[in-house]
């Protein structure tokens, strides 16, 4: 949607080298554009293929294996020998059909938990993360230290932070000491969800904060100045100028958080414990099946989770479309939008 293409005349002139004649910007753009696209297909292939190659080896290959595995059932026990059969029976889509049948209750519970955690944690993280970024973006003394400080939660390994929070939420832990009453956080119930959400948001809000901060850093000061001169209030500036400009960075951060939250595993596993219905996520369910040597159903859950994730990724790509992948005309609209944001106020001031 947005793009920091600066309103014509704002910075390009100042930054461009002396040899640049002040020819109309549109014209110049057209000329280079032709050069820029020439042979870009081949070049793109060259630039993109290493990434694709690596991902094929480390992800596509195991993914296909898992897909294949998901069509097989668990090896049965041969009652005459007492041994597990060596071959897994082919069951087709049976493992998938099971989520509407025998395995349904547990699956859908995990599905809703996963969705609930994702929506709530990512929502909270976004608000807190953006607030952090806005504060970090201001000039103040000791900024470097503070900035390193906010990264601490993100830097603590997940397993360790799970242990830490388990300690905090212990029945005699500091959380209960502060609250002044004894809540048994690690038992089934809504409080277990709260514990997981608190720990997860603490750990990952800095991730969004840092990415948004970086997004803020690359916004040219001039844009802000222009809006300020135009008399836009702080809130309005944030809503109409800052937010649209950091939106690509924010959306990417949110996207990665969403996808990560959908795969949440370690934190509820360590903090509250395995097989607790209140916090069991799809990843935990898949892990549980795999650990009971039922690789078929485990893979099926993984594939379903993958499809779910893919769906969300696609929605984001659509949402982000014009920013990341669209053709040039998409960028023009965004540029026009930026101008639209700024223009009315210009007239206001003029009036």
């Amino acid at each position: 949607m947005t793009d920091t293409t600066i309103p014509p005349g704002a910075t390009v002139h100042e930054r461009g080298s002396a040899s640049l004649q002040p020819s109309p910007p549109v014209h110049r753009r057209r000329r280079t554009h032709v050069r820029a696209t020439a042979g870009s297909g081949r070049m793109a292939a060259l630039l993109v293929s290493p990434t694709i190659l690596v991902l094929t080896v480390v992800v596509l290959y195991p993914t296909l294996m898992a897909l294949h595995e998901s069509l097989y059932g668990p090896k049965g026990l041969d009652p005459s020998t007492g041994f597990i059969r060596t071959r897994e029976p082919f069951v087709g889509l049976h493992n998938y059909a099971d989520i509407f049948g025998v395995a349904g209750q547990r699956f859908w519970n995990a599905f809703w938990n996963t969705t609930f955690f994702t929506v709530v944690t990512v929502g909270l993280e976004t608000v807190i993360g953006v607030a952090m970024a806005l504060i970090m973006h201001q000039a103040f003394r000791g900024r470097a230290l503070v900035r390193a400080g906010i990264l601490v939660p993100w830097a603590v390994p997940t397993a360790i932070s799970g242990l830490l929070w388990r300690w905090i939420f212990n029945s005699h832990g500091i959380a209960n000491a502060i609250l002044g009453r004894q809540i048994l956080w690690a038992t089934e119930g809504f409080h277990a969800k709260v514990a997981v959400i608190v720990a997860e948001v603490w750990k990952t809000a800095p991730f969004i904060g840092l990415l948004v901060l970086a997004g803020l850093q690359v916004i040219p000061k001039e844009v802000h100045e222009a809006a300020r001169i135009d008399g836009a209030g702080a809130l309005r500036r944030f809503w109409h100028v800052t937010l649209p400009l950091v939106k690509p960075a924010l959306l990417v951060a949110v996207l990665f958080r969403c996808l990560d939250a959908l795969r949440m595993f370690d934190l509820p596993y360590i903090l509250v414990g395995a097989q607790k219905n209140s916090v069991e996520t799809l990843s935990m369910l898949a892990q549980n099946e795999a650990s009971n040597v039922r690789f078929g159903p485990a893979s099926a859950y993984a594939v379903i989770l993958f499809l779910y994730v893919l769906l969300i990724a696609l929605a984001f790509v659509r949402l982000l479309g014009t920013d990341l992948v669209a053709a040039r005309d998409g960028r023009k609209t965004s540029r026009r939008r930026l101008r639209d944001v700024l223009a009315p106020r210009r007239t206001e001031v003029a009036a």
Partner: protein
């Protein structure tokens, strides 16, 4: 020297017999069970690995070093896995699934034997090679699957009732309780003392994890019920089992067991006991030495677990040594297993790491008993112990038990309903 040859011969004979038997079974059953387990030839000598969870006491390395000095050409390397039992199992299964020869001798939790044996991830062992007769019988049982020996006991463990001798004495009680009702009666007396203000009566491990399975099985067995019968079939929807579960449920309801105990694992219970919040606690022997170092030193003792109408039965803990079927140098491996599970090694493990030995003799050794006063009680505990359900799908069985027991303890289900649901869940997981 002579004994070794005889043993080898005996071993070969049994192996042949076992092999024949299994082939016979295999042919008329038309099974696809792959190679018969009896055909393992235990050949090859050379370097091997010993795979177990991390050991801080350093005693494992010490024993391995002793072996390596004696066998410079058949060195053993200690592969350390994470401390968490679930990750240990996962790593071992991954190793088996990839048919890797990286792991040779595995240190298995006693409850994994059936699963590993049924998947043929471990080899059937020649019984004659190991001094099983000198070991406590319930402990040896944990190493067997369908009558065959698949592992060698290396250490054992049994539950003990820790109690406050100082408070009981003050309340005029001289004997530790043998039944649950005696225990609650003792508590009532103790709680009348001013120094027992705010204390709770009893706790065990009731968090939803493996410890709950242990405690649930103990209550059921101590009330005359069973979780699985002699042939391994689930039979938990009975009056006996119901009485066992009802004890726990009732105790949580009336405050005999504190509410927070449903978050307790071993260490939480120890903490509560050591800080004077509990009169009785069910825990493992490891706690003895630690409590001796706490402010409770000299104020507590251990007794066998109480039951419904008399002494109760404990669940069994401990570790067994097994031989990975995809390993190399199996001849060396067998020798090493014998060495590692010998009475000498067991004594070293007891002295350096407080691991309960599988050998009956160790418990009667006066010098050891002096050092570890809990040994005689522990021996009783282990002798009366009932193994946790020995089923192939132990993971499913234990999670079903945890699920239902936890629901009953938290009041989400009546104990009758919980046992009924547990019975059908266990039937499903053993039917596979």
């Amino acid at each position: 020297m002579k004994t070794r040859t005889t043993r080898a011969l005996q071993c070969a004979a049994t192996l042949a017999a076992a092999g024949l038997l299994l082939t016979a079974c295999g042919s008329n059953g038309g099974s696809d069970a792959g190679k018969p387990a009896g055909s393992t030839s235990f050949e090859g000598r050379g370097p091997i690995t010993y795979v177990a969870g991390k050991d801080t006491s350093g005693v494992v390395q010490k024993v391995i070093d002793r072996w390596n000095m004696l066998h410079p050409k058949e060195k053993v390397t200690f592969v350390q896995l994470p401390t968490d039992a679930d990750s240990q199992r996962q790593q071992m299964i991954q190793n088996a699934e990839t048919k890797s020869d990286a792991y040779t001798v595995l240190s298995l939790d006693v409850v994994w034997t059936s699963e590993f044996a049924a998947h043929q991830w471990i080899d059937r062992l020649p019984e004659q090679r190991f001094p099983l007769r000198n070991m406590l019988k319930p402990v040896v049982e944990t190493a067997k699957y369908r009558g065959g020996l698949y592992a060698v006991p290396a250490s054992s463990d049994g539950g003990l009732l820790y109690y406050r001798t100082d408070l009981l004495k003050k309340a005029g009680i001289t004997k530790s309780p043998a039944t649950w009702s005696q225990m609650t009666a003792d508590c009532a007396k103790v709680k009348r003392l001013p120094e027992a203000k705010g204390m709770s009566c009893y706790a065990g491990q009731f968090q939803k994890y493996e410890g709950l399975t242990v405690n649930f099985a103990e209550s059921v067995d101590s009330a005359g019920g069973v979780v699985t019968d002699a042939s391994g079939k689930p039979d938990v929807d009975t009056a006996g089992a119901r009485k066992g579960l009802d004890f726990l449920v009732g105790a949580v309801k009336d405050g005999t067991i504190p509410k927070e105990a449903i978050t307790y694992q071993e260490e939480d219970g120890r903490q509560a006991f050591e800080s004077g919040k509990l009169i009785f606690l069910r825990n493992w022997p490891y706690m003895y030495a630690l409590a001796e170092k706490s402010k409770l030193a000299g104020k507590f003792a251990v007794a066998p677990l109480p039951g419904l109408n008399g002494p109760g039965s404990s669940s069994l803990g401990g570790h067994n040594l097994a031989l990975s079927s995809s390993a190399r140098n199996k001849a060396t491996a067998l020798d090493f297993m014998k060495f590692f599970s010998s009475q000498d090694s067991a004594s070293t493990f007891l002295k350096d790491a407080s691991l309960a030995p599988p050998y009956a003799k160790s418990y009667d050794d006066a010098s050891l008993v002096k050092q570890y006063p809990y040994l005689p009680v522990l021996k009783q505990s282990i002798l009366h112990a009932v193994p946790r359900p020995r089923v192939v799908q132990y993971g499913d069985a234990t999670s079903a038990i945890q699920q239902e027991a936890y629901a009953a303890l938290t009041g989400a289900k009546s104990s009758a309903q919980a046992l009924k649901d547990l019975q059908s869940a266990l039937q499903k997981s053993t039917a596979q």
